[in-house]
Each structure stands twice: as C-alpha cells, then as structure tokens.
C-alpha cells in the first residue's frame, strides 16, 4: 500500500462564538464544534474532493491542513511532515488557492509571482526555469509587467495559479476555488486541477458542486456538521448510489445525518 500524502487523524476544532454569532446562527451553546473527529487520507497523484454543504467544516479542515489554524486535537501529516510539529516544513510542501483569494493590486504579475517564490525560498535558478515555463504555459508573458489592478479577472486567475505552484509543491489545496467565478474562469481552474494531477501532484479540493466532483474526483469524502459521513473512491460512491443521481445521493446522505442530529 502507498503511503498517503495527506493523513488526517481524529481531527477536531471548535470555535468560541460571539453573542452576535450565536444570535445569527440561532445556537444556544457558545462554542461551535466546526470539525469533529475527522479522518481523511489522500493518496499520491490523485484528486480528492471534500464535499459538504455550507458550514460543514470544509474550510476549517483545509485551513488546519495548511497550518493556518491549529487543531484542538488530532494529527495532520503532509508529505511525510508532521504539520503540527513543523508547520513551516508542511507549508513548503503545500500550494493553497481559495475562491476568495485576491492579489496585490499594486504589484505587477511578475512581482507577485516572484514575491511568493522569495517567501518560499525558491533558489534563483529554479525560479527562472519554473517562472518561464509557467508564464509560457499560462500565457502570462503578455502582461507580466502590468499591475494586477489593470488585469482582467481571467488574467488575475492565471497569476493566482502561477503564484500557487511557483514553489513546486507536492500537494495543492483548493478551497471552493471556483465559487463566484463565471463558467470560463471556473473551467480554467478545473483544467489547472487536472494539470496538477498530470504533473504528479496530489490535489485536495473542497466544493459543494456535484458536477465538479464528477469531473475531477478520484476519491471523495462527504462532511456534515464537522463529521465524516462518507469516504471512499469515486467509483465506489457511484456504485453505492445505484439508480440515484450523484447529487441525490449526496443530498440523501446529508439529510439522513440532519435527521439523526435532530433526533439526538
């Protein structure tokens, strides 16, 4: 059996809620268990989809894997690195792209990519090779010296992509990376995810859109209320759904969990 690239074990995270948050969420408890005893395993060179409705704990989980948040309990290993013991080493293995990611308006495309390379400690020779290849691949050369503020949404997205993988990470994490994008821009992200797999990288992406899972996922997990409802290969999931569409199967499982929670 191959060693997993991302191994998440018994992961838990709770947040304190402010009074205002309690009111808007209509909760009595002053803490929110965002992630509860979660297990995830991503195998090398495969695309893993983290599927769940809004508020299921997807972003919190991905932020913990990216060492932005510290879990209350559990362990996280990224490409063999204990992410809790050595977050810097773990981050060196990671590329991270979210749907809300934006770039520095006052830097040029070239400066933006160079900044992240410098932050990641990319050696100048490596940087030149990777930059030239990425810029040619994505067609950034035409606007490399233009400031980000003056770029179109599509151009900005290309710069974001180059920025995410300029340090050649083993793992690329996408947090709702297509949310709020138009069809063309969303397709560019989908193509990029496929490219990552083709380059031998491991991809973990979160979404609530079933069609993206169908297009991309090798493996998937469904989370709801911070808990794992299902994990397995995409093929197994399709087989288990039988006659139902994948979306129906997803909704059925979530509603089942919801009903159980209300009863409890």
């Amino acid at each position: 059996m191959v060693a997993p690239v991302i191994a998440v074990h018994k992961l838990a995270k709770r947040f304190a809620l402010s009074r205002q948050q309690r009111r808007t969420m209509d909760r009595k408890s002053d803490v929110l268990q965002a992630v509860d005893d979660l297990e995830l395993t991503c195998k090398p060179g495969r695309i893993f989809a983290l599927l769940g409705p809004n508020g299921a704990g997807k972003t919190t989980t991905l932020r913990m894997i990216a060492t932005l948040l510290r879990p209350d309990a559990g362990s996280i290993h990224v490409a063999g690195v204990d992410a809790l013991a050595d977050p810097l080493a773990a981050r060196r293995k990671l590329g991270f792209l979210t749907g809300s990611t934006r770039l520095y308006d006052r830097l040029t495309a070239d400066e933006t990519v160079r900044y992240y390379a410098d932050l990641s400690g990319v050696a100048p020779a490596d940087f030149k090779v990777r930059r030239d290849r990425l810029f040619a691949q994505l067609g950034i050369d035409a606007f490399a010296d233009r400031r980000v503020a003056k770029l179109s949404t599509g151009m900005k997205q290309k710069v974001s992509i180059a920025r995410t993988i300029i340090h050649d990470p083993d793992v690329v994490i996408f947090d709702e990376a297509t949310s709020g994008l138009d069809v063309i821009a969303a397709r560019a992200i989908i193509a990029f995810i496929r490219q990552c797999r083709a380059d031998g990288k491991t991809v973990l992406f979160s979404t609530h859109i079933m069609s993206e899972v169908t297009m991309l996922a090798d493996d998937l997990a469904i989370v709801y209320g911070g808990k794992l409802l299902y994990t397995g290969t995409f093929a197994d999931f399709t087989a288990a759904s039988g006659e139902r569409s994948l979306e129906d199967e997803f909704v059925r499982r979530v509603e089942l969990a919801e009903a159980q929670e209300t009863r409890a």
Partner: protein, 399 residues
C-alpha cells in the same frame, strides 16, 4: 538569494510607495503643510494688521468749556479724525451705528480740578470689541501725552524736576541666550510635528498592510507561504516604522524650509536663532528619539489594524487615538512641566519634553538617555505583543 524578511520588506515598501493615499499622507501633506500654513497665516495676520493701521479712527470730543486741550492733542495723533460736538445724548447711538468709533467727553469741571491740582475728569465712550484695540491705543497715547504735559507743568510750578516721581530706575538685563528663548518656543512646537506626523505617517501603511490585506483577501494566502509569522510581522513593522520616521522628517524639512526662506514679519534675529537650533548634536539626539517613537506607533497601530476586519473598521479604531497621542504632547507645553526622572518615563510626553530641552540646550544627558531607553523598551515590548497578536487565529481570522 533574497531572505524572506527582505522579500516581505521590499514588497511592503513597494506596495506602500505605490499607494497614492499613503504617499499623500506620508510625503505631500507634511512637506507642504508648514510652508502653506505658516506663510498663509503670516500673510493673513499682516494684512489684517495693515488694514487696522490704515483705518482712520473717528473720535468725537465733547468739551463743554472748550478749554481742556483734549481735542487739539488728539488731533495731533496720527490715524485719528477728531470731530468736536456738544451733543452728548446722540453719542451712544452714533457709536452703536458705527458712525463713530469712540467719544471722549470732558467734564465741565476739568480746568477747575486741574487748577486745584486734582485730576481732570474725562470719559471714554466705546463699544468693546477686538477691533477697538487699535483705536483705544491711539486715543490713550494722545491722552497720555496731554497728561505728561500737565504733570510737567505741575512739577515746574512746585519747583521740582519731572523725574521727582521716579524713585527707582530698573534696567532689565536678560541673560537668556537667543537659542534658549527660541528653543523653548520652537521646541514646544517641534515635538507636535514629530508626534503628529510620525503617527499619521505610520497610520496609513499600518491600516493598509494588515486590515487592508484582510479586506482584500490576500492575508490568508500570505499566511500559507512557508514563512514564520514573526517574519511577516517584522517586515510589515519595519515598513510602517520607516514611514513614520520619513513622514516626521519631511515635516521638519518643510518647516525648516519655510522658516529659513523668510516668513515676512519674522522678528530679526529669529532666523539666526533658528539656525543655532540646528546644532548637529541636538538634531541627532532628536532623531534618535524619533526612531523608537515611530517603532512604538508602528507596533501599536499594526496590532489594532490586524484586529480590524476592514480598512474602515481600522480607521474608526485608530482615529480616536490621535487625540490620545496629542494630550501628552500638549502637556509638555504647560509651564513648569520639565524633563525629570519621572516624566522621562511617560511615553510621548517624554518625547515632547526631551525635544524641547534638547533644542534649548538645557537637557540633562541622563534624562535624555532615560527617554531613549524607556521608549526603546516600550517599542520592543509592543513589537513582541504585536507578533503574538498576529499568531492568534481568533484575531487574524476574526469574523
């Protein structure tokens, strides 16, 4: 290879220097404010004063016996137009209507009293206002000259010298050096400039580099870079602190240029005194104090800024602080507040006091050293607190 700290510093500096809002606050305003303000105010007050001087003051003199000499004396006074009248009842109304600026009413018994060596009575009728100061001074000068003549007559009649009434002749000899005198005035003003511009210079970059990153959605990505948080904080902090120092320096240059290029009406000798103030040692000491002050502001403002979710929220958290910063700066202007072992430990107040005394050349080296050390310690503590603050996920991901 670029180290991560240098990369952060370079990027934040580039970003800051390309932000028009920050540039205006950091360079344009401090550079132009003093020349414009000082020259403008000087021009305005001079033109006001000239106008007041040029204005002819209309005075009515009522002299029932026509023997006091008041009207004649006032008539000799430049800038006074004297009108003789007997109609006392109309005077208040005419002054109210501004047909007259003032009226002098001589008592009918004026000469009788003088003859008995008693004071001759005179009533000055006017509407008190700031504008009246010039008119009053002119009338008073005229009446004083008349009184001196009358006194001289009395002394001569009594066979005495006019100097008979002067028992003591005091001569003042002020040994304060011009540097000390001007130093206390300029030294009281200069810390204001420092403190205000150091603060505003830090303010915009601080807001932009923390709350601005949050609002624009770049902070999360930045934090996923394999760089320690303290490196990110330090890089940002250095840029913000530098902005504060630069802004304060530019303000001082602006002030110096406007003063040395001659503001009309500046007392002669003031320029020499100002030039004397620019003693290299004093300037170096003032700059040495400016650095930790800016560092303290930078760390504190970054903390507030990263706590805020948006640019706007950061602005509303920070702008009231301006007043908090100004109060201790103002305290230094109160008479009697001096740099002591205690005041040297009060942040901001110590900057004001130390600057004042350094420029006047009356500072105790021990006190100045204490100001520097206490400010540096405060700045270091704020930086540590700021770094811890950036490491707190409930602050950075506050929603």
């Amino acid at each position: 290879m670029t180290t991560p700290l240098l990369a952060v510093f370079k990027k934040e500096l580039t970003d800051t220097l390309r932000d028009r809002r920050t540039l205006v606050a950091m360079i344009v305003v401090p550079l132009l404010l003093f020349p414009v303000l000082l020259i403008g105010v000087a021009k305005f007050t001079q033109s006001q004063a000239r106008e007041a001087e040029a204005k002819v003051v209309r005075v009515a003199v009522v002299d029932p016996m026509n023997d006091s000499g008041v009207a004649a004396r006032l008539g000799q006074q430049p800038g006074l137009a004297v009108e003789q009248t007997q109609d006392v009842s109309q005077l208040p109304q005419r002054i109210r209507d501004e047909a007259l600026d003032a009226a002098v009413v001589v008592d009918p018994t004026f000469q009788q009293n003088l003859a008995k060596n008693r004071p001759g009575g005179v009533t000055l009728m006017f509407r008190s206002s700031e504008d009246f100061a010039v008119a009053k001074r002119r009338i008073q000068t005229g009446l004083d000259a008349l009184e001196k003549d009358l006194l001289d007559q009395r002394f001569t009649a009594a066979g005495l010298e006019p100097s008979f009434v002067d028992a003591i002749a005091v001569q003042e000899h002020d040994i304060t050096s011009p540097r000390e005198r001007i130093g206390k005035i300029v030294g009281g003003l200069l810390p204001y400039i420092f403190i205000i511009f150091c603060f505003t210079g830090c303010m915009y970059p601080a807001i932009d580099l923390a709350a601005g990153e949050k609002e624009r959605g770049t902070l999360e990505t930045l934090l996923t870079a394999p760089v320690a948080r303290r490196t990110l904080v330090l890089g940002k902090f250095l840029v913000v602190a530098l902005a504060g120092v630069v802004s304060a320096l530019i303000a001082m240059i602006g002030l110096y240029v406007s003063v040395s290029n001659g503001i009309e009406g500046l007392p002669p000798g003031a320029l020499e005194a100002v030039a004397q103030l620019l003693d290299p040692v004093a300037i170096a000491a003032v700059l040495a104090i400016l650095v930790p002050l800016s560092a303290f502001f930078a760390a504190g403002l970054l903390m507030l800024s990263v706590y805020a979710r948006t640019y706007k929220e950061a602005m509303s958290l920070i702008s009231p602080l301006m007043v908090v910063v100004l109060v201790p700066a103002m305290l230094a202007l109160l008479p009697g507040t001096e740099l002591t072992l205690v005041t040297a430990l009060v942040p901001i107040l110590n900057v004001s006091l130390a600057t004042k005394e350094l420029l006047a050349d009356t500072a105790e080296p021990l006190h100045v050293a204490l100001v520097f050390v206490s400010l540096t310690a405060l700045a270091a503590a704020s930086l540590v607190a700021c770094t811890r603050w950036f490491a707190r996920e409930d602050i950075v991901f506050r929603s």
